[in-house]
C-alpha cells in the first residue's frame, strides 16, 4: 500500500490532471497500440469542503491488514455509489477489466453494451468479465458510439464512479479513432466526420488539404455548406431492412404471450433508461455530419496520411447510393428466417444504413454462413466468398442456393478443380484463400480467373474462418481484391500467437460476439457435456515414457493402451445409445492404429477426395457406420449435423482454438432440440504425462465460455467389456514394441491439410502455394494426396497393405 505521503502526492497530481482542460485536442495523443492503462490510485471524486460525503484519503484508504495481499489491485478506495446494488458492474482501474453481475435486471442491456465496447473475457453463469482494449473501443466507435456515450453509460451502470484513468483511456482511444470516415456514395468519395473541426484540421494538413475537390452539390435541399464543408443529415438505418428479420417480414399476428413478453421487456427497458438515463433525442449536433469530397485517385494517399496522423479512416460503403456497380439479383427466400442474434449481429453491421467492414464472431453451428448470406442479400452487389478448403467452397455454394434466390449460373466456383466465371454483370464467386493469395506461377486458366477477379470492383467480400489465415496472406487478399465492404466470420477469435490484432486493421473491428451459453440455453446450439477422461499409463508405457525423447513421448501417451480401452469403451457405449461418433486424432499413426484395430473408417489428409465424400455420406446415412476417425482435416468446415458424440485422443498441444473448433463439430447436432438431449465431448488424456498440462490449457477458452469439463477418473464397467483390446500383458508388450519401432516422424502431428495448412507459420504457407501450383494429376493428388507433407506416407510400401479393408472395398468399388 502507498504510504500517506506518496498517496497524497499521487492524489494531487491526478487531481490536476482531472481538472486540466483537454484543449490540446490534436497534439500528443498516443497512437493506438501504445495506449496503456496507467495505474493511478486516484479517487474520482474531488474533495469538497463542508460536504459530508467529501473524500478523505485517510478514511477511505483502509489501512487494513489484508490490503497488501492485493498489491496494486486494491481498489477499495473507489467509493460505492449509494444505490450501487441496482447497478450491475465494477471497473478495474488497473487493467480495464469490467466485472458484470449477470443476474442483475439490467444485465441483458449491460451485456449488449459491454460486448460492443469491450472484449468478453469470460461468460459463465453468474459473473461475466469483459476487458476494455484499444481495439474494442475502436470497434465501439466504428459502430457509432460516441466517447461521451461510452463514458456516461459506463458510469451509470457502474457501482463505483468510473476511475479517472479509465476515462482518460477511453478518451485517448476514441478521440481520434473512427472520427473520420471514407464514404463512397454516388460513385464519389467523401471524407466524412460528425465533427467539423476534425475535418478542418484535416484540410489544414499539407498533404490532405490540396486533394480536396469542389464538386457540385448533388442534393442541394438537404445540405448546407458551412466553412467549405458540406453539412447534411447523418445517415440512418432509414428504410433499410435486413431481409429475413421481423421488421422485414412485417408480421401482424402477435400472440398474446409474446405481447406479454414484450411488455415485460418494456419494463426492463424502462428500468434501464431510469438507471442509465440516456436520452439521445437531445443530441442535435450528432445528427449532422460534415464531409468534403476527394477524387478517386486520392483515396490511397488520404488513407495513408490519415493513418500517419493517427486519424485512421473507417471505410463505409453506402451501397444504396452506389449506382456504378451493377446490382446483383439476390434475396433471401421467403421461407428463410434469421435468428435474433443473427439479426443483432447484422444490425451492428448495417447500423446506419451503410455497410461497415468488420468481424462477426458466432459459435460453430450457430449459422455463420446464414449471416454472411443475409449480409450479401442486403448489399445486393457482386460478392466474393473466401474460405479455407475446397470442401467448404462447395458447402458455401450449396448454402447460397438453399437460402436465397440467386440463380446457379450467377455462382462461380474458383478452386484448383473448378474455374468458372459468371456471365452476368454481377455475380458471386466462391474460392479459397490459397487460390487468391497465390503469388507464384499460375496455370493459364487460373491466371485468367485471377485477372477476372482483380479487374472488377466487388461490393462485398466474405472471409470465412478468419482466425486461421495469417496476416500476410490476408494483406494480399485484401489488396488484390477491390471490395467495398469486408465481413470476417469466425467462431473463435483466439490465436495462440496473438496475431489476432492484425485482423482489426486488415478487416475491421469485431462487430459482434455471441455468448455461447446463451445460445445453448435458447436451443440454437446443442447442449454439450464435456468430460476429460483420465487414463492411467500402464507401467511399461510409463517406464518408457520417462526415458524417451519428447517427441517419442507424445506417441507413447497417445498409444497408451488404457486410453485405447477407454476409447473402445466409449465408442461401444455411445453406439449402443444410438449416437453418431467422431473420433479426433492429430496423430496420423495413432489414427490409423486405432481405426484399424477397431475396424472403423478414417479420414486424414492423405485420403482422396472421393473416398472422403464416400465415408462422410456413409456416416450420415448408413446406420451401420456410426463411428468415424478424423485427423486435423475434420477440425473445421466439415459439416456433420448427425454427429452427437466426440472423442478426442490426440490434439495439437495446448491449442484453445482447436478444442473450440472440435467442440463446434457437435454444436449443430440435428437432435439438439429433443428434450433432454446432450451432446458429448470426451477428451482422453494419459495421466501423469504432458498431456494433462496441455489439456488444461486447451480448455481455457471453452471454460471461459461457461463450459465445465468433468473429470472422469474411472470408466465404470470398462474391464468387463467383451473383446477389450490390450487386456493382456502380452498384447500390451506387443503394442509397446511396435510403438517403439516407429520413428519420431510418426509422433509428429499431421503436417499440412486443407483446412489448416497455413496456420500462422511461414512454412505451412509455402506448402499451400505448392499445392495451388499443381494443375494435373490423379484424383488423390487433386485432393491434396500428393502434397509435400504426405510424401513419406505415400512412399511407404506399407500403405496399401495397411489400408482398412472396408475403406479399400468402398474406395475401389466406387472406382
Amino acid at each position: 500500500m502507498l504510504s500517506q505521503d506518496e498517496y497524497s502526492d499521487q492524489y494531487n497530481s491526478s487531481e490536476s490532471a482531472a481538472t486540466g482542460d483537454d484543449d490540446d485536442e490534436y497534439t500528443g495523443r498516443p497512437s493506438l497500440p501504445s495506449v496503456h492503462l496507467r495505474v493511478k490510485p486516484a479517487p474520482p471524486q474531488k474533495p469538497n469542503a463542508g460536504d459530508s460525503t467529501s473524500f478523505d484519503p485517510s478514511s477511505t484508504v483502509k489501512g487494513d491488514s489484508i490490503s497488501r495481499v492485493f498489491g496494486r489491485a486494491e481498489f477499495s478506495y473507489l467509493m460505492l455509489k449509494p444505490d450501487h446494488t441496482s447497478r450491475p458492474l465494477w471497473i478495474n482501474p488497473l487493467d480495464g477489466r469490467i466485472i458484470l453481475e449477470s443476474y442483475s435486471p439490467l444485465a441483458e442491456q449491460a451485456q449488449d453494451f459491454l460486448v460492443t465496447i469491450a472484449e468478453p473475457v469470460s461468460r459463465p453463469t453468474h459473473i461475466h468479465e469483459y476487458k476494455l482494449t484499444p481495439y474494442s473501443l475502436y470497434a465501439a466507435v466504428s459502430v457509432g458510439l460516441e466517447t461521451n456515450d461510452i463514458i456516461s453509460v459506463l458510469n451509470r451502470l457502474s457501482k463505483v464512479a468510473v476511475p479517472q484513468n479509465i476515462i482518460d483511456f477511453i478518451n485517448n482511444c476514441t478521440v481520434s479513432y473512427g472520427k473520420v470516415k471514407l464514404v463512397l456514395k454516388y460513385n464519389r468519395y467523401f471524407v466524412e466526420s460528425p465533427q467539423a473541426d476534425t475535418l478542418q484540421m484535416l484540410l489544414k494538413d499539407p498533404e490532405i488539404g490540396p486533394l480536396r475537390i469542389e464538386g457540385d452539390d448533388y442534393n442541394a435541399t438537404s445540405t448546407t455548406i458551412v466553412e467549405g464543408l458540406v453539412r447534411e443529415k447523418a445517415p440512418s438505418m432509414g428504410e433499410l431492412t435486413i431481409p429475413g428479420t421481423n421488421k422485414g417480414s412485417n408480421s401482424s399476428a402477435v400472440a398474446g404471450g409474446q405481447a406479454e413478453g414484450d411488455r415485460q421487456h418494456q419494463s426492463v427497458e424502462d428500468l434501464f433508461t431510469s438507471v442509465v438515463g440516456l436520452d439521445r433525442e437531445d443530441d442535435d449536433d450528432m445528427d449532422a455530419v460534415h464531409s468534403f469530397e476527394i477524387a478517386h485517385e486520392s483515396v490511397e494517399p488520404v488513407k495513408k496520411r490519415c493513418q500517419e496522423i493517427d486519424y485512421p479512416v473507417l471505410e463505409e460503403y453506402d451501397f444504396r447510393n452506389d449506382t456504378r456497380n451493377p446490382n446483383l439479383d439476390i434475396d433471401l427466400k421467403p421461407s428463410t428466417q434469421i435468428r435474433p442474434y443473427q439479426e443483432k449481429s447484422l444490425s451492428k453491421m448495417f447500423g446506419n444504413g451503410r455497410a461497415r467492414s468488420g468481424i462477426i464472431v458466432l459459435p460453430c453451428g450457430a449459422g455463420k454462413t446464414l449471416v454472411g448470406i443475409t449480409a450479401a442479400c442486403t448489399i445486393k452487389k457482386s460478392v466474393i466468398v473466401l474460405c479455407t478448403s475446397s470442401v467448404s467452397v462447395m458447402q458455401w455454394r450449396q448454402q447460397f442456393l438453399q437460402w436465397c434466390t440467386i440463380q446457379p449460373e450467377n455462382i462461380a466456383v474458383f478452386t484448383s478443380e473448378n474455374k468458372e466465371k459468371f456471365r452476368n454483370e454481377a455475380g458471386l464467386v466462391v474460392s479459397t484463400y490459397s487460390m487468391v493469395a497465390n503469388t507464384r506461377n499460375r496455370s493459364h486458366e487460373s491466371q485468367k480467373m485471377m485477372d477476372f477477379l482483380t479487374s472488377r470492383e466487388w461490393g462485398f467480400v466474405i472471409l470465412d474462418e478468419v482466425h486461421v489465415v495469417p496476416a500476410a496472406m490476408f494483406r494480399r487478399v485484401v489488396t488484390t481484391i477491390a471490395a467495398h465492404a469486408k465481413l470476417g466470420l469466425t467462431a473463435t477469435l483466439v490465436r495462440e500467437d496473438d496475431k489476432i490484432d492484425d485482423l482489426n486493421f486488415l478487416i475491421g473491428p469485431k462487430l459482434y460476439e455471441a455468448n455461447w451459453m446463451d445460445l445453448a440455453n435458447k436451443g440454437h446450439i446443442a447442449n454439450v457435456q464435456c468430460a476429460e477422461v483420465w487414463c492411467p499409463m500402464t507401467t511399461e508405457f510409463y517406464n518408457e515414457y520417462l526415458h524417451e525423447t519428447p517427441r517419442k513421448r507424445r506417441l507413447l501417451y497417445i498409444m497408451n493402451p488404457k486410453k485405447f480401452q477407454a476409447c473402445q469403451f466409449l465408442i461401444n457405449y455411445h453406439e449402443k445409445r444410438g449416437d453418431k461418433i467422431i473420433v479426433f486424432s492429430d496423430n496420423v499413426y495413432a489414427l490409423q492404429a486405432y481405426a484399424q484395430k477397431l475396424k472403423k473408417f478414417f479420414i486424414y489428409g492423405g485420403t482422396p477426395q472421393g473416398e472422403r465424400m464416400n465415408i462422410l455420406q456413409n456416416f450420415q446415412l448408413n446406420p451401420e457406420v456410426n463411428t468415424i476417425f478424423l485427423s486435423k482435416v475434420g477440425d473445421t468446415s466439415i459439416d456433420l449435423p448427425e454427429a452427437t458424440c466426440l472423442i478426442q485422443i490426440s490434439s495439437h498441444y495446448g491449442s484453445r482454438r482447436q478444442e473450440a473448433q472440435r467442440l463446434g463439430r457437435i454444436l449443430r447436432a440435428k437432435r439438439r432440440n429433443d428434450e433432454g438431449f446432450n451432446a458429448f465431448f470426451y477428451s482422453l488424456v494419459s495421466k501423469d504425462t504432458q498431456e494433462m498440462y496441455y489439456s488444461t490449457k486447451r480448455q481455457a477458452f471453452l471454460v471461459d465460455q461457461g463450459y465445465a469439463f468433468k473429470v472422469i477418473t474411472h470408466l465404470q464397467g470398462m474391464e468387463n467389456l467383451p473383446d477389450l483390446a490390450y487386456a493382456t500383458v502380452g498384447e500390451r508388450r506387443e503394442l509397446l514394441q511396435s510403438v517403439l519401432l516407429q520413428n519420431e516422424e510418426a509422433a509428429g502431428i499431421e503436417n499440412g491439410d486443407d483446412a489448416e495448412n497455413f496456420v500462422g507459420r511461414g512454412g505451412g504457407y509455402v506448402k499451400s502455394i505448392k499445392k495451388a501450383k499443381r494443375t494435373m494429376g490423379s484424383l488423390s493428388s487433386l485432393a491434396g494426396g500428393d502434397d509435400m507433407a504426405y510424401v513419406e506416407y505415400n512412399k511407404s510400401k506399407n500403405k496399401e497393405k495397411t489400408r482398412n479393408p472396408l475403406i479399400k472395398k468402398l474406395y475401389y468399388s466406387k472406382k
Binding site: K62, D64, S65, I66, S67, R68, V69, F70, A73, E74, F75, S76, Y77, L78, M79, L80, H84, W90, N92, L94, R97, I99, Y103, S122, P124, T125, H126, I127, E129, K159, V160, V703, D704, G706, Y707, A708, F709, K710, V711, T713
Partner: protein
C-alpha cells in the same frame, strides 16, 4: 440443527464433571440460569414443569407433556438432565436437584444474595465508554486473534496468554509467534461462527485452567455470569474471587471484557460476553456478528460466488473473510464490496499443504455460497468440487517411508546377497540394481545391519 456442536460441547463438558462439582456450580443462580439456557427445548420444558413443584413427578407423566412420536427427543432430553445431575430418578419418580431448583428459582424470582449476576458499579466512571466503543474493542481484539491465525501481517501479535492458548488447543503449531502456523483444526475453527469460536476457545481455556490448578467451578461461575451481564454497564471487581480476577486479564485479551487498565476496579462486558449463552443465531464473523446484533435483523450470510471457470467472487469487505479466502484462493483484485480471485492448482495445494482438507474448502464454499448460487442444484459447480478433491488425491499419491539407504557395495555378489536378504525379509521398499542401491524400512534396518555384521565376521 439449531443446537450447534459447540453448545453440546459445553454441555458435554458439564456432563463430564463429577456430581459434587456440579452441585457447587448450582449454588450460583446465574450459573443455573445459564445452564438452563444451554439445554434443549424439551429439557427446558421438563424443568419448568418441575421447578415450582416440590413433589416428585412420575416419569410416566412426562409422556403426557410431549407429542406422540417424540419419544426419542424425550429420551434425549431426560438423558441430558440425568447426565448433568439436574434430575434424580428413583422408583419411577423424578425429582429436580435441590440446589439447582433453589438456584434457578432465585435467578427467576430475583432472590439472589451472592451477587452471582455481578455487581454494577455504583459510582460514576470518569472514563465511561459507550456500547459502540465496546463493540469496536471486542471486534478488534477478536479479529486480531483470527488474523494472527490466518497469518495476515497486521504488525500486531496477540498476548502470550492467547498464543499459548492457541498452541495448547492445537489450533496452531509452532514455538515462536513468527513460525506459528494454522493447523487443520484451526481452519475448522475459522469456519465456525463467532459464538462457536469463542466457546471453543473458552473450553480450551477451561482445560488449561485445570492444569494451572484454577478452580473449574469458579471459572465456570465467572463465564456464566458474564453471559448474564448487561452490555454497556460497568461492573465492580469487588465480587470476584482471586481466580476470577486472574481470568479477567485473559478474557480482556480475547476482547470478551474491557478494562481501561489492568489496575482498574471496574470492567465492562462486551457483546462477545453478553451473547455467550444467548441464542442470537449463527453469526459469521466478529464484525458480521456486530452488524447483525446491532441491526437485529436477519441477513443473508452467503457471499461467495464460485464459477465453473474456477473464478471466485466474494461480496465482502471484511478483512477476515478475505483472509480466510486467501488461504485457498489466489486473490486478484479488491473492490469496496467485493473481491475477485481464482482457485488454482497452486492455491489449493498451498492450502492442502497447510493441513486444510479439500472437504473443508468445499464446505466453506457451500456454507458461504451467495444466494444466487443457491438457485442452482448442485450448489457448487461439480467440476470444480471434483477438481479440488482430485488435487487433494494428487497430494496423497506420494507416501513417505522412513528408513535407510544402502549403497556403495564393493561387488555385485555382495549387493545381491544383502539385497536378496532384505527382499526375503520383505523390508526392502526400493532398489536400483544397476546402481547397487536399495532402501529398507526403518523397522527392518536392524536385521539387515546384523546380517551385514555376520557376513563381515564370517567373511573375515
Amino acid at each position: 440443527m439449531s443446537v450447534p456442536k459447540f453448545r453440546t460441547s459445553i454441555n458435554d463438558f458439564l456432563e463430564g464433571l463429577p456430581e459434587t462439582v456440579l452441585i457447587r456450580l448450582f449454588y450460583s443462580p446465574a450459573t443455573c440460569l445459564a445452564i438452563f439456557r444451554l439445554l434443549p427445548a424439551m429439557a427446558q420444558l421438563f424443568i419448568m414443569a418441575m421447578l415450582f413443584n416440590d413433589k416428585p413427578v412420575a416419569a410416566t407423566d412426562l409422556n403426557l407433556w410431549v407429542q406422540e412420536g417424540s419419544t426419542s427427543k424425550q429420551y434425549d432430553a431426560l438423558e441430558k438432565l440425568r447426565g448433568m445431575h439436574l434430575v434424580k430418578q428413583s422408583q419411577g419418580m423424578l425429582t429436580l436437584q435441590k440446589t439447582f431448583r433453589a438456584g434457578l428459582r432465585n435467578a427467576l424470582s430475583g432472590g439472589d444474595h451472592n451477587n452471582s449476576f455481578g455487581i454494577p458499579c455504583d459510582t460514576e466512571d470518569k472514563h465511561k465508554v459507550d456500547i459502540e466503543f465496546l463493540d469496536e474493542h471486542a471486534n478488534n481484539q477478536w479479529e486480531l486473534i483470527l488474523h494472527f491465525m490466518v497469518g495476515t501481517d497486521t504488525g500486531k501479535i496477540p498476548n502470550n496468554g492467547v498464543l499459548s492458548l492457541l498452541r495448547h488447543s492445537g489450533l496452531m503449531e509452532g514455538s515462536t509467534p513468527a513460525n506459528m502456523r494454522i493447523t487443520n483444526a484451526g481452519f475448522q475453527f475459522l469456519l465456525q461462527d463467532v459464538n462457536a469460536q469463542i466457546w471453543t476457545l473458552l473450553l480450551q481455556y477451561l482445560n488449561m485452567s485445570e492444569d494451572l490448578h484454577m478452580d473449574a467451578v469458579e471459572v465456570l461461575h465467572f463465564l456464566f455470569m458474564l453471559g448474564s451481564l448487561e452490555l454497556g454497564q460497568d461492573y465492580s471487581l469487588a465480587a470476584l474471587s482471586p481466580t476470577q480476577k486472574i481470568m479477567l486479564d485473559d478474557l480482556r485479551d480475547y476482547g470478551i471484557v474491557y478494562q481501561r487498565k489492568s489496575s482498574s476496579r471496574r470492567f465492562y462486558p462486551t457483546r462477545l460476553a453478553t451473547t455467550l449463552t444467548s441464542d442470537t443465531g449463527a453469526l459469521l464473523t466478529a464484525s458480521a456478528s456486530m452488524d447483525s446484533a446491532i441491526a437485529q435483523k436477519e441477513r443473508d450470510t452467503g457471499f461467495v460466488i464460485l464459477e465453473t471457470n474456477f473464478k471466485v467472487y466474494a461480496y465482502t469487505d471484511s478483512p477476515l473473510q478475505i483472509a480466510v479466502l486467501n488461504l485457498f484462493v489466489h486473490l486478484r483484485s479488491r473492490f469496496a464490496n467485493m473481491v475477485t480471485g481464482q482457485i488454482s492448482r497452486e492455491s489449493v495445494r498451498k492450502a492442502l499443504s497447510n493441513g486444510i482438507t479439500a472437504d473443508q474448502i468445499v464446505t466453506y464454499l457451500t456454507v458461504h455460497a451467495h444466494p444466487q448460487m443457491r438457485k442452482s442444484t448442485p450448489l457448487l459447480p461439480p467440476t470444480v468440487v471434483d477438481q479440488i478433491r482430485l488435487w487433494q488425491l494428487e497430494m496423497e499419491r506420494m507416501k513417505a517411508v522412513e528408513g535407510y539407504l544402502y549403497s556403495d557395495f564393493s561387488s555385485k555378489s555382495e549387493y545381491d546377497t544383502i539385497a536378496g536378504y532384505a527382499r526375503d525379509l520383505g523390508v526392502m521398499t526400493w532398489e536400483k540394481p544397476n546402481k547397487r542401491m536399495f532402501f529398507v524400512s526403518k523397522e527392518g534396518n536392524q536385521q539387515i545391519v546384523d546380517f551385514v555384521r555376520r557376513k563381515v565376521h564370517s567373511g573375515a
